[in-house]
Symmetry: C2
Subunit: 761 residues, 2 copies
């Protein structure tokens, strides 16, 4: 529904709405990764014409706050680590925010930044796992956590069956096959089109922040927490946004922008990051490592797995341990059907790397990489069919996560059909046979990966969504949600859902696309593929409630007409004959001299269930061994996301997700200078995302099942496509060359090292 | 609550919010008052650089619509006369809208206007009552009403008592005193500071109109009606506005602006009127005449009154007969306590004068002028004390309007106390004695006038108001209303009312001051002094509902705490001890893992009762007879408006209203050239409103009574102060000079003619 406006430029984004002229804020970032700011001389900067003011880490409120866009709850354990200030004197990563300038224009602001003189006490940076976990005095980044460990999770399943007492016993059993692996995933950047940008102003003593965010209501909370003011003193407005992919699920510069606005008497202040700043001063997918040990039997059954994961979080906790916990849980869940025991451990630690955070699929692509490296190697080593072996162990309908009994389960069985169709489409059996014995420089490979992805954040965290619907005088309905359109097509899907729930044509539903925390019903926002599932539940509930109110009012108008229903915008009787048009009911409800009542419905849905979306990806590719170059020939992906709400937008989601996963597979990695901790490639020339030229036609298919926990049988789709393509590429390269890679991305450099090690070149 | 932002310039008005650059629309007005546009040549205009397009009366949709900001209802008789198009080929008044230009800037737009060549078939204008009511062929302005009569009302009371059979019999009874009068009131202009301005854009196929209006939801309706589109296709936004005084209770240029925006593909188009256009191309108070015949006895009792009023509406019906009906009803009601019979007639007719409409107090100042000319003359002729005679006949508690039994009554008895205090303040008895026998050129006079004003528009018309309140996480409450802040302090009053209803401090209530018809609850807007009464009823109802929901949630949190109440932002038990803070309840309601539910309340109040506000004005003045100059020495006004919600804003309302009434008394009149129908003084040099230099300190007092029909014992105040000062000045001039004036304003010219006629000069 927003396509036309976006294509024609009519759609308004944060910066379009900024009053001009507007004061411009710029942030001074540290040029060291570890140390302490001992002094800042702003005197020269303040003399520059057009500079309104300079504020440093010594001026800001002494309030620690966390930035993660988590739903929060009144339970303490659901509240994020509060480990930073608006500007920080203790520098924990390269590019840390240490001062800010407000000026009449960007030229003056930039000149002022260059004129600020900072004196540091610099320490050697702790960048890798080893140095970060053994910090010494100068590597202790936060006093509260001297060992730099943010959190550690250790989930041991119950040991199933009678034969073994412990997982260690299984992993030591010589009658089983054993395998160990060390795999790793890269620091990937979200690379949304629109920068991180916001602007603030004051009205009636309250602060308004217009920002490009996925989570306006959470921005409200975090601004208030960071500034130590009442949450109701903050109004956050979210217009259309140009992508987020998890980076805008952190609240990074809005609190500083709000505070700077207050320092200049409430005049509008804009704070827009450059592309370079987005790369190094916002969030990215953490680099993670996985040490996996597994045992399996001769009958293609996994018997036990143990996974130890580390996540290098960087200077600040942000989303904490939630991401890598999600990695190892997804590692465990997908192939947990037959194994007798599992143990997953996840540790997140501070370092002087730049701070990481959420990125599409929130840790699952990393865990899935580890899981599929394991499955691919076993199948390869044993000569088993990769699809058969995976399906033999993969989640089926009825699977219940033993750690969240009754709350997290698999309710559909579309995965097998996904694999069946994917195999048929890609020509799995023929290609496997065809590619069996290849020699020479150019080799073909076919690979597969499966995935599971739990929907939303229940039962681990709070899941609520609210909706409001108002009947207009012409029978159309205005829907207001706290759930956000972030380019994924949410508004379109919600209007379809509302139309069905109310009983009117989809075109009669108007969605208020812009969230305003003063007035939009509460919803925590767009992340975790939660909105069609959780917010959709609210939409259905409220839509049905509005429909009932409409029918009740129609009864008042035609008390003798018997049973009435609202069908396709018409009030019909038991025989299906139209008794009233919806417009007639609407007009009467607004303008009756007897009983005028604006018909509306509003409610909050709290969702406590959770379900798994599943799917698979097949990749057919060509490897030019001497050139260490991979050419993707076909990518076919199938999804069991329950019922598909809109096939066209669903397909677009899958295309985008595959592209991001292929970037992780082959090219995307933010590189850190090991001496300074500086990001080496914070630009789109050196950080390579796949473009249309790099991709084959992407093929997306859906196996529609009805998930009983979703409002319309639906479940997660938004993030799923970002998961399986990378390991499927890895599996195809293994098929083509017999070389096992464990580190993504599989750049030409890594391919070269692997091929050389295995004697191919 | 908005004072600081308005004083500092932070408050945003319509034009502040307009995106720049924006296309500029300008309207071509007719240069004749009566005739037909036979051709328009736009070719030269279209060649001008920067002109985007020119549209004429031959291009617009063939849809007739009405502009009045009436509440409307589904009952046909409540729907206004639809007698104009966006641009009109049949020219009915000087300055009629016949073409429009859209250009890249105002310079190009102005040049284009001058380059348009119009050919008219011109007719002689019908400007006065006589020629308008005997129109002939070329004076027939609307085919549907060949006699130019828009409507005629004739209300005959039942004849009370046994003695007379009819009012005619009373008026013929030689045993009574008889008096006849012809009085007249002028065309007054509202003179709001901010011009009539709007701008439109399209989003997602829908039209957005940001406009300076009193009545956003009615603007939505009328744009949709004028354009023939679904009402839900229109979004109207009302920011802060710089005054309206009834002129912005008509929907004049918004529909044209919306249509022009659609013609240019939805690009933003602004349409701002010049001050001159506001004077001649928007609305004004109609000139009215009153022919009054009355009989009274020796005991200071009115026995019967007959009033025949005519209202010269101009080219289009706008508010129709409602204004002059209000005039004669108020004439009747105020002094209807003892008389045995009354008859009031009101006729509104089309003419080639500019179109009139609503202005503060909506016809009552005119009817009150006629009523007080009558009362003043009788008291003067008989030598009765003006206060005693008036009070002897004036409305008291218990008065019921016989035409709306049970729905329109007087519930308080503050008027007598108002007069008592006013007399004491001004020194009535001493001054009357002191001024009794004056001679010479400089004379002093003291005068009085009483008034009544019914609150809101029930039971004549629909009265509904909706409110929505949301509990924020910090215990503050966000209130959203369709009722509008138009400079009168509504937001402040509503926040006080909400705070009391909920049980929190006033500072905890945040009001969404900007209405957006997509999302703001339905309310017909600011007019008829209805908002504290009708919208206030909704605020109280919804506030109490929210309070109950909060207490119910607190019960869930502390089930063992017994009876709980919300007092001053704290949840207290039966002993008054705090059990929970409101913030604790709010946080839990948003973020409970067990039961998360955003607490809100929303509802519509339909008000079917009505009540009278009453009051009086005393004026002490000096007349320089040879110079025909009146100097106001003191103005004292007392109001019984029930309970006063905010003494400071109430006093400010009274000051402003007195000033407008004094303008009507002495200087304000839009003058028409009798040959062409052109307005002669459409500017602030030639149209004289009183400035601070022209006014003495204005003294306002309140007699607080509790009106049982108002939400907090309150009733109308906003318009009342605009009523009695003019006739009180007239009464004081009569007291000073013995000369009876019947036409307002009493300009030096009119004073000269009167003094000369009576031989004073």
């Amino acid at each position: 529904m927003d396509a036309y406006d976006k294509v024609t430029g009519r759609a308004k984004f944060t910066d379009d709405l900024c009053p001009k002229p507007c004061l411009e804020a710029k942030v001074l970032h540290s040029t060291i990764a570890n140390g302490v700011v001992t002094a800042i001389d702003t005197s020269e900067a303040e003399k520059i014409e057009g500079v309104v003011g300079v504020w440093t880490c010594f001026d800001v409120p002494d309030i620690q706050f966390g930035t993660a866009g988590h739903p929060w709850s009144t339970r303490q354990s659901h509240q994020d680590i509060q480990d930073r200030k608006l500007l920080n004197a203790r520098v924990r990563c390269y590019g840390d925010n240490i001062a800010a300038v407000v000026a009449e224009d960007t030229v003056a602001a930039d000149r002022a930044l260059r004129a600020i003189k900072v004196t540091y006490d610099e320490y050697p940076p702790c960048l890798d796992t080893e140095s970060a976990l053994h910090p010494g005095k100068t590597g202790e980044l936060h006093q509260e956590r001297p060992d730099n460990v943010i959190a550690h999770m250790d989930l041991r399943s119950k040991v199933r069956g009678e034969r073994y007492q412990s997982i260690e016993q299984i992993l030591d059993d010589p009658s089983l096959h054993h395998i160990t692996q060390h795999s790793a995933t890269p620091r990937q950047s979200q690379v949304h089109i629109e920068s991180c940008t916001s602007w603030c102003k004051m009205e009636n003593g309250r602060i308004t922040c217009v920002t490009s965010t996925q989570i306006p209501h959470i921005v409200r909370r975090i601004i208030a927490q960071a500034l130590g003011i009442g949450w109701g003193q903050v109004k956050v407005i979210k217009p259309y946004i140009g992508g987020g992919f998890g980076n805008k699920q952190d609240v990074l510069f809005e609190p500083l922008n709000a505070w700077l606005c207050m320092q200049v008497g409430g005049r509008p202040v804009r704070l827009e990051l450059s592309r370079e700043e987005v790369f190094f001063a916002t969030r990215s997918r953490q680099p993670k490592t996985f040490d996996v040990e597994a045992a399996y039997d001769d009958h293609q059954n996994l018997v036990a797995r143990h996974c130890v994961a580390y996540s290098n979080q960087g200077g600040y906790a942000s989303h904490g341990n939630a991401l890598v916990a999600n990695s190892v849980n997804s590692f465990r869940q997908l192939y947990d059907m037959r194994e007798l025991a599992s143990r997953v451990e996840a540790t997140t630690f501070y370092s002087n790397q730049i701070t990481a955070g959420a990125m599409r699929a929130y840790g699952v692509p990393e865990g899935n990489w580890a899981a599929e490296c394991l499955m691919g190697d076993i199948a390869y080593d044993q000569g088993w069919d990769g699809c058969d072996f995976r399906l033999n162990n993969a989640m089926t309908k009825g699977y219940v996560d033993e750690f969240w009994p009754g709350k997290l389960a698999c309710y559909t069985d579309g995965l097998r059909e996904c694999v069946r169709r994917g195999k048929a489409d890609i020509g799995w059996d023929q290609k496997r046979a065809e590619y069996a014995h290849q020699e020479g420089p150019i080799r073909h490979g076919i690979g597969v990966a499966l995935f599971s992805y739990k929907t939303a954040v229940a039962a681990l965290s709070l899941e609520t969504a609210s909706a409001r619907m108002i009947l207009n005088q012409d029978g159309s309905v205005m829907m207001e949600l706290g759930a956000t359109e972030i380019g994924q097509g949410a508004d379109t899907i919600f209007s379809q859902m509302a139309a069905q729930a109310i009983g009117i044509p989809t075109e009669w539903v108007h969605v208020v696309s812009t969230q305003n925390t003063d007035t939009s019903p509460y919803d925590s926002g767009a992340y975790a593929s939660r909105q069609t599932y959780v917010s959709g539940t609210a939409v259905r509930m409220v839509g049905e409630e509005l429909g009932e109110k409409i029918v009740a009012y129609a009864h008042e108008m035609r008390p003798d007409a018997g049973d009435l229903r609202l069908v396709d915008g018409r009030i019909v009787d038991a025989a299906g004959e139209q008794v009233l048009s919806l417009e007639e009911v609407a007009q009467e409800s607004y303008y009756s001299l007897d009983h005028a009542q604006q018909l509306f419905a509003e409610d909050t849905a709290q969702v406590k269930s959770n379900t798994f979306a599943l799917g698979c990806c097949f990749v057919d590719l060509t490897v030019d061994v001497p050139l260490c170059k991979v050419t993707l020939d076909r990518v076919v992906e199938y999804h069991d996301s329950g019922m598909i709400m809109n096939p066209r937008t669903a397909e677009q989601q899958v295309h985008g997700g595959i592209a991001q996963s292929l970037g992780m597979a082959l090219s995307e990695e933010l590189l850190t200078d090991p001496a300074s901790g500086r990001i080496l490639n914070p630009n789109l020339l050196d950080y390579k995302i796949p473009t249309a030229m790099d991709l084959p036609d992407l093929e997306a298919g859906f196996v529609e099942t009805y998930d009983p926990t979703g409002p319309y049988g639906n479940k997660a789709l938004g993030e799923c496509p970002c998961i399986p393509a990378a390991p499927a590429v890895r599996d195809a390269i293994l098929n083509a060359t017999g070389v096992k890679f464990y580190e993504a991305p599989m750049t030409p450099q890594r391919l070269f090292e692997g091929f050389k090690r295995e004697g191919l070149i």
